[in-house]
């Protein structure tokens, strides 16, 4: 037990905690799970579409992953980092043109109809490929899904597609929805998008807008003796301070996704009966990144970009902005990724003198007021930490004579300003690493992306060598060779700095100690909670 209830000090001691945490495969109370109970969880937002097959995002998964299941889930100790869910096995052909899934037998939808390969084929071809925010990229070459029998689905690709990518995409991108519910009418307007029907351990019961979501036990679930809980309630608590109060007042038992602000964790960890847990988010790593607009002539100069990198004290950012709950970054793949990460990249130590020298060398001398030039800095508003880092960056840049003007926007305005209008010089962004660089990481530096695409390279950066590397990796089938290409990719990005990776962080859960089997997989908060239980 004690190794999981961490104190601030232990976290501060090793910023590599993200790495270390993957080494602890199991967690939970050493007691036999009990049946029954209502788990009340804090929710800070109400997604407008609850269909995880269409919207593959953590806000949707947090609720829907208990109702709608994927083919496989991330795992600390499973083969390829996966645990079977609706698929029992997956096999990629050597030519990269097909992947064969063997499906689980005896699974029923919540409306009683049997789950078959036809549902997988329908979900993949009609939803993941044409409609899903991430699937549109990963499954773009999916041509057909053959269903030789009810429990076999064979994905056919028009172009060789790396099996490693498909595997890594399974936990987030492969939510299967019932064909018989979706086949008539427009998929986007189907009522099941707001009251999902799946195969998961919990059935969607009701949503009272502004109040709560209620899920109830699926008595017909395929998992033996599962689920343990009778009900899961997501109580909507829009105010940042209310999750902590609700935990203390024992009105809720769990606040995931850092619903309790970092600054409150020290105090809340001392409340008897509450635990602070950093595990269970290893597969959901967010990256703190400085996006640069390379259309600005100053920023198009590598020396200036290097100077900015040297001006940022990453250790200070981790300690002050993230209060230790983060790790410093070296490049575009986070340190805790077990497959792709390499430390063998150029690094930029905090060195103000060097940064100043680089800027002088680049020809941007300080004018009489000590300033070299001015930049517009737009921190993304989605997290407290991105805004706070914006404040820090302004000061760090002032030390090297760059005058950064902060522009604070709300989400909609920020998205438009940065990704459509390109009305920024520097932006602070929190891209997500989703287990494979091809899912949502290479797009951050690749050229030729149309205007308006969020969380992509909208800084006008173009590097033919890097583009060629990304293209090559996307068609390399051999896992080892593909991994090597992404290591080269990391090196190249760290060398040329199309963007500057500062830190990597995940989320924190605060939970009552009566809740068992929590944080037992790398995407726990967005997994199915079939084995989660509560003491009466």
């Amino acid at each position: 037990m004690s190794e999981f209830t961490i104190s601030r000090r232990t976290v501060l001691a090793g910023s590599a905690f993200l790495l270390a945490s993957t080494a602890l495969p199991t967690i939970g109370l050493a007691q036999t799970p009990k049946k029954g109970g209502r788990l009340v969880v804090a929710a800070d937002s109400e997604p407008r579409n609850l269909n995880p097959a269409i919207v593959a995002s953590n806000g949707v998964f947090f609720i829907s992953s208990k109702v709608v299941e994927t083919l496989a889930e991330a795992s600390f100790d499973g083969k390829d980092g996966l645990d079977p869910r609706l698929a029992l096995s997956w096999e990629g052909a050597a030519d990269g043109l097909s992947v064969t899934f063997k499906l689980r037998q005896g699974v029923n939808w919540h409306d009683g109809k049997p789950f078959t390969s036809a549902d997988v084929a329908f979900s993949a071809l009609q939803i993941w490929k044409p409609l899903q925010n991430l699937g549109r990229t990963v499954f773009k070459d999916l041509e057909a899904v053959d269903t030789p029998d009810e429990l076999t689905a064979v994905f056919k690709f028009a172009k060789p597609t790396p099996f490693q990518l498909i595997r890594n995409a399974l936990p987030a991108l492969s939510s299967v929805v019932p064909k018989h519910v979706y086949e008539s009418g427009k998929i986007e307007e189907n009522p099941a998008n707001n009251a999902p029907i799946g195969t998961g351990p919990f059935k969607f019961a009701e949503h009272k807008p502004g109040e709560y979501y209620r899920l109830e036990k699926n008595a017909d679930y395929w998992g033996k003796d599962q689920p343990y809980l009778d009900e899961i309630i997501y109580q909507v608590l829009p105010d940042r301070t209310s999750a902590a109060s609700a935990l203390e007042a024992e009105e809720i038992q769990l606040a995931a996704f850092s619903a309790v602000p970092l600054a409150d964790l020290d105090r809340i960890s001392k409340v008897p009966g509450l635990k602070v847990i950093t595990k269970g988010y290893e597969g959901l790593t967010y990256q703190l990144v400085v996006e640069l607009n390379h259309r600005r002539k100053e920023l198009a100069d590598l020396k200036v970009r290097k100077a900015i990198a040297h001006a940022i004290d990453k250790d200070f950012v981790v300690k002050t902005v993230f209060l230790g709950y983060a790790a410093t970054a070296t490049g575009p793949v986070p340190k805790n990724d077990p497959q792709f990460y390499t430390a063998d990249v150029p690094t930029y130590a905090f060195d103000v003198a060097k940064a100043n020298a680089l800027l002088d060398e680049a020809g941007y001398r300080r004018s009489d007021d000590g300033k070299r030039f001015s930049l517009k800095l737009l921190p993304a508003p989605y997290f407290n930490e991105t805004k706070q880092f914006g404040d820090y960056l302004r000061q760090a840049l002032a030390a090297i004579g760059i005058d950064a003007q902060l522009v604070n926007n709300d989400s909609a305005a920020h998205i438009k300003a940065v990704y459509t209008d390109h009305a920024f010089d520097l932006a602070v962004g929190p891209p997500v690493f989703r287990g494979d660089p091809a899912i949502s990481t290479t797009i951050l530096v690749q050229s030729g992306i149309p205007d308006g695409v969020p969380f992509s390279n909208q800084g006008g950066y173009k590097n033919d060598e890097l583009d060629a590397l990304i293209a090559k990796a996307s068609e390399t089938l051999d896992t080892a060779a593909r991994t090597e290409l992404y290591k080269a990719f990391q090196k190249k990005v760290a060398e040329d700095l199309p963007l500057i990776n500062v830190a990597e962080w995940s989320f924190i859960s605060v939970v009552r100690d009566t809740v068992g089997n929590i944080a037992n997989n790398p995407r726990w908060a967005v997994s199915n909670w079939a084995d989660t239980w509560m003491e009466a």
């Binding site: 407008r48 109040e211 109580q235 203390e248 909609a412 300003a417 205007d451």
Partner: protein, 328 residues
């Protein structure tokens, strides 16, 4: 009665103009805000260029501003508030779901602040300059200076977290299956803290106004006359002084109703009450223009109706008001 009818007619015609200006003004104001509903949506999901184009088309955002405004007004003429892009449901339903909560919260808070405020004001104003007057005046000033969200948070920490007398938020217990009286008691328990937080701040205003009005009236000749007649002090305070000081408070009641709608945005967030204020905040963040317009329209209608009621009350309380309006 005739006087009241004339008043209502005049106010209704004026009200429609006000509403039209409010609608067009808000629409254009929101149009100038950077980013649209699709930008707000993809901020939480991401997506490629094709998907963004698809969404803009599906939500009708690829049409020009004027076309959309004209469409909106045309639908409004048929009493149709349109479809919310955030909720993919008719706006009328979304608003009707939240309206009772806000009305309950505002109504209770107004009753609390007006009732208790004027009662304390009478108590303080009965003996201007006395110790209890000083105490209440200073106390109410302090209360008035407190920001609403802070008072809300303090109430939560003391009464919900430490003492656990009341729930920390929400409008009723979750999926409790309570009905009838049990449910009413449950809702009342949930409302105690938010109503106190919202009501106590405005209470100070009524208290001070009542007290100041009474201090004024005490100096009037008719009070001297009442004293000379040998009326009891109690009767002078209630029937003569307080009654004459009450009129400005009624005016204030009308003005405050709009203020309180603004205050409820904060209180609804702090106490997680699913009301109109919170809905408005979500609509702005999501750039759901039709939804926000719907909320503003409903709020504007509410304010107009309350002010109409205030005017009628005024006409009843003070015969001079209606007479001048009717003859004008």
């Amino acid at each position: 009665m005739n006087r009241a009818l004339t008043l209502i007619r005049r106010r209704l015609i004026g009200g429609i103009f006000v509403l039209l200006i409010v609608v067009i003004g808000t629409f254009l104001l929101l149009e100038t805000a950077p980013g649209d509903a699709v930008d707000a949506y993809i901020a939480s999901t991401g997506g490629d260029a094709g998907m963004i184009e698809l969404l803009r088309h599906r939500w009708g955002l690829d049409q020009s501003v004027l076309t959309r405004l004209a469409n909106y007004l045309w639908a409004l003429l048929h009493l149709d508030l349109g479809q919310s892009v955030t909720f993919s449901r008719p706006i009328r339903d979304v608003i009707l779901e939240r309206l009772p909560n806000t009305l309950l919260l505002m109504g209770s808070a107004t009753a609390l602040s007006f009732g208790l405020g004027s009662a304390l004001g009478i108590y303080a104003g009965a003996r201007p300059g006395s110790v209890r007057d000083r105490f209440l005046s200073i106390g109410s000033l302090a209360l008035y200076a407190v920001p609403g969200f802070w008072l809300g948070l303090v109430l939560i920490i003391v009464f919900a977290v430490d003492l656990r007398w009341f729930p920390i938020g929400g409008i009723e217990s979750i999926a409790s299956g309570k009905t009838g009286l049990d449910r009413a008691v449950d809702i009342a328990r949930h409302l105690v803290l938010p109503v106190s937080a919202l009501g106590f701040i405005y209470l100070a205003l009524y208290l001070r106004m009542m007290r100041a009005g009474m201090a004024e009236v005490w100096r009037q000749d008719f009070v001297l006359a009442a004293r000379a007649k040998g009326l009891s002090r109690r009767r002078i305070v209630l029937a003569h002084v307080a009654r004459n000081a009450l009129l400005p408070l009624v005016t204030m009641l009308g003005l405050q109703s709009a203020q309180m709608l603004g205050g409820s945005v904060v209180i609804e967030s702090v106490f997680s009450v699913p009301g109109l204020g919170r809905l408005a905040q979500e609509a702005v963040a999501a750039r759901d223009i039709p939804l926000l317009l719907g909320i503003i329209l409903v709020s504007a209608v509410m304010v107009i109706v309350i002010n109409l009621l205030v005017d009628i009350a005024y006409a009843v309380l003070d015969p001079r008001v209606g007479a001048s309006e009717a003859s004008a």
